[in-house]
Amino acid sequence: MQPVGVAVPLRVDIAEKTFRSAEGVPVTALHDLSFEVRQGEFACLLGPSGCGKTTTLRILLGLDTDFSGSFQLPQGGSNRIAVVFQEPTLLPWRTVEQNVRLALPKGMRNAKLDWLFDSLGLAGMRSLFPSELSLGLARRAALARAFATEPAVLFLDEPFVSLDEQTAERLRYLLLEVWSARPTTALMVTHNLREALMLSDRIIVLSPRPAHVLGVFDVRLPRHYRNRQVMSDLLRSFHEKFPHAA
């Protein structure tokens, strides 16, 4: 038991996760994967495509229970977890606002969410159906849904993939803005090193399949100092530390 008030980190310790391919051949996706994300920290899980990042996330979300090992989720707040999937995964038959409110616990369904819709630029789109939104706007709605639940931990699975760079960059800033207003422990999966360096406090670098942790890259500099010059310095020191990664 943790004493009350002590921050519990996100602790992951997955011994092994194997899939069976269609022909019955076992494929090891994760092997000895262990890392920690401190309370209130924004961490990125960085690794090459297909290395098992999404698999890790699915295990942490409780969607895949067929693995050996254990993990521990942070507690506090609503004690809930929230997720932004690769696809927005909004219910097409419900409006933006209904999509957000349905994710809330029954008692919070009528909470005031104006600040959230406003800061994500969705104020005028609450009554639209997802089919009326662009992909970028649908992603914002998915972010709104995740933040509305005031989760104890937030998972993001490449939330800005397949957007044009300009839109992705705007969404990254919006994400930072909303997250900074209510910092929660967050773990984002990405294969985009620049994105990871811009957003995170710590980057957990994964090896190719079967994934295990190659090392951890801490970015201690506050985010508003990370201008172009600093970013290229960060990139260089990252490549010095992990010459073969990303």
């Binding site: 979300l61 409780g62 969607l63 809930r80 977890i81 929230a82 997720v83 999937f85 696809e87 995964t89 219910l91 097409p92 038959w93 419900r94 349905l102 994710a103 616990p105 029954k106 005028g124 159906f129 997802p130 089919s131 009326e132 939104l133 849904r145 639940t149």
Partner: protein, 275 residues
């Protein structure tokens, strides 16, 4: 709204065109339908005129029976009784068939086991089920409605099984992470995805059920449109047979137009808007 002028321009330009073509799109099929029905009516009048016979009455005579029986309250009573049976059998068949269909669609092993049963029931003639139901359960209302429902259930099962197979697991996963309750899952995740299949099953369901209900009434009930038609068959009163048939078809079309289509339009409103 930074530029209301531009915005208004877009909306007026956007609606003006579809409105005009929309009115035409409604008017042309409606006129065609009216002309088609008028043609049938004329053909019938002409034929009845050319070959006068008690077995083939002209439209006027059918209308007279329709009017008299409506005035006496007999037609509304039998129509109401039959409609009640149709509604009851429909609800029973849709609920039971949907539950079985979704379960079979989700559980593959169960589907493999029960599939032969479904095929068997699909191929049993309606008449056999009706006769057996009356023999086993007696000539009562429950047996009548049950027999009709059993006739329809395999169809619903097959359609809803397809629907359950097409369920998108991503929505269920989203619901799991955000801890939707069982009722919310049913209302916001499951039913909206099954809606097209429910619509298909209920459309073919109503059409099938009301025809079977008439047979059930003919064989073992003492009221309803089917019983009336049987009665008039024994009297060779074709005008009455046609009157009851037309009245019932008209009612079923009205239900389709005023109930089924608006409900469907409401359920699919999120689909029709352009992105």
């Amino acid at each position: 709204m930074t530029s209301p002028g531009v915005d208004r321009g877009i909306t007026t330009a956007g609606t003006a065109l579809p409105l005009r073509s929309g009115r035409r799109a409604i008017a042309v099929p409606a006129l065609t339908t009216a002309a088609s029905l008028l043609g049938l009516f004329l053909l019938w009048s002409f034929a009845a005129e050319a070959w006068p016979s008690r077995a083939f009455p002209p439209p006027g005579q059918v209308w007279q029976v329709l009017y008299n029986d409506t005035a006496s309250g007999e037609l509304p009573y039998h129509l109401g009784v039959t409609l009640g049976r149709v509604a009851a059998a429909f609800v029973v068949a849709m609920v039971i068939g949907s539950i079985i269909g979704v379960l079979l669609g989700v559980h593959r092993r169960a589907d493999q086991f029960f599939n032969p049963w479904v095929v068997l029931f699909l191929n049993i003639p309606a008449l056999v089920i009706i006769v057996l139901a009356y023999i086993w359960f007696g000539l009562n209302e429950a047996a009548a409605i049950g027999a009709v429902a059993v006739n329809k259930i395999p169809n619903v099962v097959v359609t809803m099984r397809e629907g359950a197979r097409a369920l998108d697991p991503r929505y269920a996963e989203m619901a799991a992470v955000y801890r939707f309750g069982p009722l919310d899952r049913l209302r916001h995740i499951l039913l909206p995805q099954l809606q097209p299949y429910l619509a298909a099953a209920s459309r073919s369901g109503v059409a099938l059920i009301w025809k079977i209900v008439l047979v059930v009434e003919l064989l073992g009930r003492s009221n309803g449109v089917g019983f009336q038609i049987y009665l008039h068959f024994q009297l060779f009163d074709v005008a009455a047979i046609l009157a009851y048939t037309l009245a019932f078809v008209a009612i079923m079309l009205l239900i389709e137009l005023l109930l089924v289509q608006p409900v469907e339009r409401h359920a699919t409103r999120w689909r029709r808007r352009p992105a």
